[in-house]
């Protein structure tokens, strides 16, 4: 590839940010997907809309909202200050931005996989002596697992490409918040940055394509032809 050491650092940082984003977002996405797939409650349509908001809002708005929330006097900022932590202009903030932007895609994929689990198997488990939690752990979760994993990989791919919310929320700081898209943007601003743009763009294409292929393969494995595609 001929990436420079600095460029490899950018790739590693991007992977690190995306991984942290997915690890943090997965439990939240799973809970939301489960609520949307299995529960009936007032305000469900509203929750569904809120979950999908990052998909349609200008990313700069999400970044600005995060900036307000995690500013020292914002609710998130106050909470983190208790632990002596700040995510402003840190890679952890980039991970939060990526997580929020990836959430709708993850919820959609996981919701599809949960809806594809036939509740008749869960009923059978109950008659065999399994309580709700045991049924969930031994029947629902394993049957939905490939779809959940596909959702996580899809979210990972989305995180790798995250730009607008990140640059608004945590700026474009080398070795801290300068992920692949932000590095490409920075290189574009420089005279003679073309070759760096080419190399970084190629890396972005390769990583994203690998994640998308993995996600689609997992979806097919989970559905055995009956599940829906997430893409």
């Amino acid at each position: 590839m001929g990436l420079t050491a600095e460029e490899w650092g950018i790739v590693v940082l991007s992977l690190q940010v995306s991984l942290a984003a997915i690890v943090g977002a997965l439990p939240v996405a799973f809970l939301l997907a489960w609520m949307l797939a299995r529960l009936r409650f007032p305000g469900k349509i509203l929750l569904d809309g809120l979950v999908h908001l990052p998909l349609v809002l200008p990313p700069v708005v999400i970044g600005w909202l995060l900036l307000i929330a995690f500013a020292p006097e914002g609710p998130g900022g106050r909470l983190l200050a208790v632990f002596g932590v700040s995510v402003l202009f840190r890679w952890t903030g980039a991970a939060i931005a990526a997580a929020v932007m990836a959430l709708p895609l993850m919820v959609r994929a996981i919701r599809l996989s949960l809806e594809a689990v036939d509740p008749r198997f869960e009923q059978a488990a109950r008659t065999l002596g399994a309580g709700r939690w045991h049924t969930f752990a031994t029947i629902t979760l394993p049957l939905a697992a490939p779809g959940v994993l596909a959702g996580a990989v899809l979210g990972f791919a989305r995180s790798l490409g995250e730009f607008g919310a990140t640059i608004t929320f945590v700026s474009n700081i080398p070795e801290e918040t300068r992920t692949l898209p932000l590095a490409i943007y920075a290189a574009l601003q420089l005279p003679g940055g073309d070759s760096a743009v080419w190399r970084l763009a190629l890396m972005a294409v390769l990583l994203s394509l690998a994640a998308l292929v993995a996600s689609e393969a997992l979806t097919r494995a989970s559905g055995n032809g009956r599940g829906g595609h997430v893409l």
Binding site: R120, Q123, R126, T127, L128, G129, A130, I139, L143
Partner: protein
């Protein structure tokens, strides 16, 4: 009395009333399709909550609308053999069989895996995936899974449909042996008068 049932069920727009008592042995629930036979089995298993009434099996109160009793399915100790079998697709036959066995309190278990496998002639199938089984094989595995969960009674929904004649005979023999050797009360749904005449000690007719 093994089964003492008096319930009103609602399935969609339809109301189903069912009232009978039955001694030990095999009780067949018959009636035209749409009469609500499967719904009654689901209610006894705890999968369908009745509108009102009571369900007592072997002296244990499973449901009583007057007293507000409604045991969860996992606390009813019923061995349910579904019409569509519902073998867990992600588990091998062995783990399907042991699913309820592992959850049952030891004092309720009355047979082990090897005994059940021999009883039902399914020992060679233990490492197979459910989707590779024939209809008759899957039917016997489903019965084995129910028996191994240490049930106090069996519920069987059309256990003889979708089987060829030889397999029907095999399953009928199994049900007769469960009745004779295990003395488990059985409530089964069937639409076949011939099967009912051979198997049932008592017939309950459900009208739409």
């Amino acid at each position: 009395m093994s089964f003492d049932i008096d319930v009103t069920l609602r399935r969609g727009e339809r109301s189903i009333a069912c009232r009978f008592t039955a001694p030990a042995g095999v009780t067949a629930l018959v009636g035209p399709s749409g009469a609500g036979k499967s719904s009654v089995l689901e209610a006894v298993a705890g999968l369908l909550k009745p509108v009102s009434g009571r369900i007592v099996v072997g002296g244990a109160m499973l449901y009583d609308s007057a007293a507000g009793t409604n045991l969860a399915p996992e606390h009813r100790a019923c061995g349910m053999v579904f019409q569509d079998l519902r073998l867990f697709p992600h588990r091998r036959v062995r783990d399907n069989l042991l699913y309820g066995y592992r959850l049952a309190p030891p004092e309720r278990r009355f047979m082990g895996l090897e005994e059940a496998a021999a009883f039902l002639d399914i020992a060679p199938l233990l490492d197979r995936r459910p989707r590779t089984l024939s209809g008759g094989e899957a039917q016997r595995v489903a019965i084995g899974r129910a028996l191994l969960s240490g049930p106090r009674f069996l519920l069987m929904d059309e256990p003889l449909t979708a089987l060829d004649d030889a397999r029907r005979e095999a399953i009928i023999a199994v049900i007769e042996r469960i009745r004779a050797e295990l003395a488990l009360p059985i409530l089964l749904v069937s639409h076949d008068r011939g099967d009912v005449a051979r198997l049932a000690d008592q017939v309950v007719e459900l009208r739409p």
